[in-house]
Amino acid sequence: MSRIGVENRLFAVLRWVVIVGLVLATVVPFYYMVLLSIRSIDEVLQHPGRLWVPLSELTVSAYRAVLSPVDSGGQGMLVLLRNSLVVSLAAVVLTLLVSIPGSYAVSRLRFAGRRQVHFLFLAVYLFPTILLAIPLFVMFTRMGLRGSLAGLVIVYIAQTVPVSVYMLRNYLSTIPESIEEAAAIDGCNRLQTVWRVTLPLAAPAVMTTALYVFMIAWNEFLFALLFLVEDRSSWTVSLGLAQLAGGIEVPKTVLTAGAVVLTLPVVILFFMAERMLTEGLTSGADKG
């Protein structure tokens, strides 16, 4: 058989092997997570290796334990969920408020120092976040912001603004300037142009950025650990799960229920907007 024939057949098969393998590798951990959260702890200890459990043995007691407030003996994750939601939404709003004008400036307007500013935003990423943690920790302690969610939000927007500016700028530069010029001819000043013409056109990129910022804020761990760890009622869900998992008293099934509670909002949001995310994150990559 010719080489090309062999290779074509081989790769046709390999392709499917790879696809199945990748799907398994990505889905199995999550499936396992959900599975553990609905089994009872005794059943898990007896049959740890099971991947399929008869329906009669499933239970949602782990979820009840994880969500009910601490006074009733639960883990109080509802409060933590609320904290995470507040922090993430605030981060999204503030980041957009700060980065939309900035990205507009960087993509459209020619001004002195433009190239340096662009470089600055990228250079910020070269530094390990831990480098920021120390002085921010001190600064916020002095300002009394350390245990507060507001302080955390400020830290988050520091991390998300550069990326948002980059993502928005990529998309904004694909919007033809002629549309804005037409609006100017029709009598809009710059602010009106941005609000009425550019932003609606950039809506997909704005949505994508909002989702990305939400994801970063929701999933973040290091700064939540450094800033919030002293007051349990102010923990985010990420921090809460990490703290509980570090101890020994909480059974694994309850912890996995916590993990599912932590993961579910982000995964749902993400699936709702998967197409937009794929296009938004890579809109600079194709030069074809």
Partner: protein, 324 residues
């Protein structure tokens, strides 16, 4: 003759459009710049200052900007027992993770190029490891790899015939005989690298898939007409097209992995041979409260990173510059 009424009336008609644009640019940029400067640049500069001061956390509350300056921190950092080995560990971890995630991402992008039934769903699931919260996925991996009841070890001992469970995350190294030679394999480090490859391959996958789909079909068709086999098409047609994106991905993932803290900390806490420098900085800060030494280590980390990226950009991938 009266001039036609102005529709948008500027206060001073002599300001040129260019100047107005410049002014607007700076105004628009100022909130962004303000945030970045106050919350990012200033702290970085302060950390650099702290690295040169002999200072503990309790002192910082009162200390101003001008304490005693000394190189003592750097001396103690460079001479401290685990420092150089942790630097090597960090390098191995970064190179391994970058290679693995980009490699798997490339394979995934190649496999999902052509449409098939259910492709958008599969593409969605590919992104799950990247999108899910770090705390949740590290926890699940810890449970799955647990020697007592994790499913990997269960299957290993029952189905694959292992003699005893493997402590993936807590075992520093193990000797394996390969072709008669005893080879020492760093178990925990390899596990952490595998985790990184799993978690970040979607990042590479996304970029590469977008690029692949932008490759003009005519190029590959021409190669096909010339009788090229799939491997030949990959090497001579696709790979050059992917070159710039691959270079960009290498730089991005190298930087992000080098600085990464959450994943290693949550998986192993830095034990069992996975002590990367960022975890060491955290330890210095939280257990010894030695802010000066922690800052010095973080600074060294940043400098090493800049050096590596600089070398890479200069010699190995000049085309990466054009991409940004």
């Amino acid at each position: 003759m009266r001039p036609p009424p102005e529709t948008a009336t500027p206060p001073n008609k002599r300001i040129t459009l260019r100047k107005r644009e410049s002014r607007a640019g700076l105004v628009f940029l100022s909130p962004t710049l303000l945030v970045v400067i106050v919350v990012v640049i200033l702290p970085i500069l302060w950390t650099i200052l702290l690295a040169f001061q002999d200072i503990k956390l309790v002192d910082i509350q009162d200390a101003g900007l001008f304490g005693r300056y000394t190189l003592g921190n750097f001396a103690s950092v460079f001479s401290s027992p685990g420092f150089w080995s942790s630097l090597v560990t960090t390098l191995i971890y970064t190179v391994g993770s970058t290679g693995l995630s980009i490699g798997v991402g490339t394979v995934a992008a190649l496999a999902l190029r052509r449409p098939f039934r259910g492709r958008s769903l599969v593409r969605g699931t590919m992104l799950l490891p990247y999108v899910a919260p770090v705390v949740a996925v590290t926890f699940v991996w810890q449970v799955m790899l647990n020697p007592q009841f994790g499913i990997i070890n269960q299957w290993g001992t029952r189905l694959l015939g292992w003699d005893e469970p493997i402590a993936f995350l807590t075992q520093r190294a193990t000797d394996v005989s390969v072709l008669g030679m005893e080879v020492e394999i760093p178990v925990a480090l390899l596990t952490v690298i595998a985790f990184e490859g799993w978690r970040y391959f979607p990042f590479a996958f996304l970029f590469l898939l977008a690029r692949l789909q932008a490759v003009p079909g005519t190029l590959e068709e021409a190669a096909l007409v010339d009788g090229a086999t799939p491997t030949q098409r990959f090497r001579h047609v696709l790979l050059p097209q992917l070159g710039p994106v691959l270079a960009l991905l290498v730089v991005l993932r190298f930087i992000m992995t080098f600085n990464k803290f959450d994943d290693v900390f949550l998986l192993t806490g830095g034990s069992a041979g996975t002590d990367v420098v960022s975890v060491r900085v955290y330890e210095y800060l939280t257990s010894r409260f030695d802010v000066g030494a922690a800052s010095a280590q973080a600074l060294v980390l940043a400098v090493v990173l800049v050096v590596f990226v600089g070398i890479y950009l200069r010699f190995l991938a000049p085309s990466a510059d054009k991409e940004s």
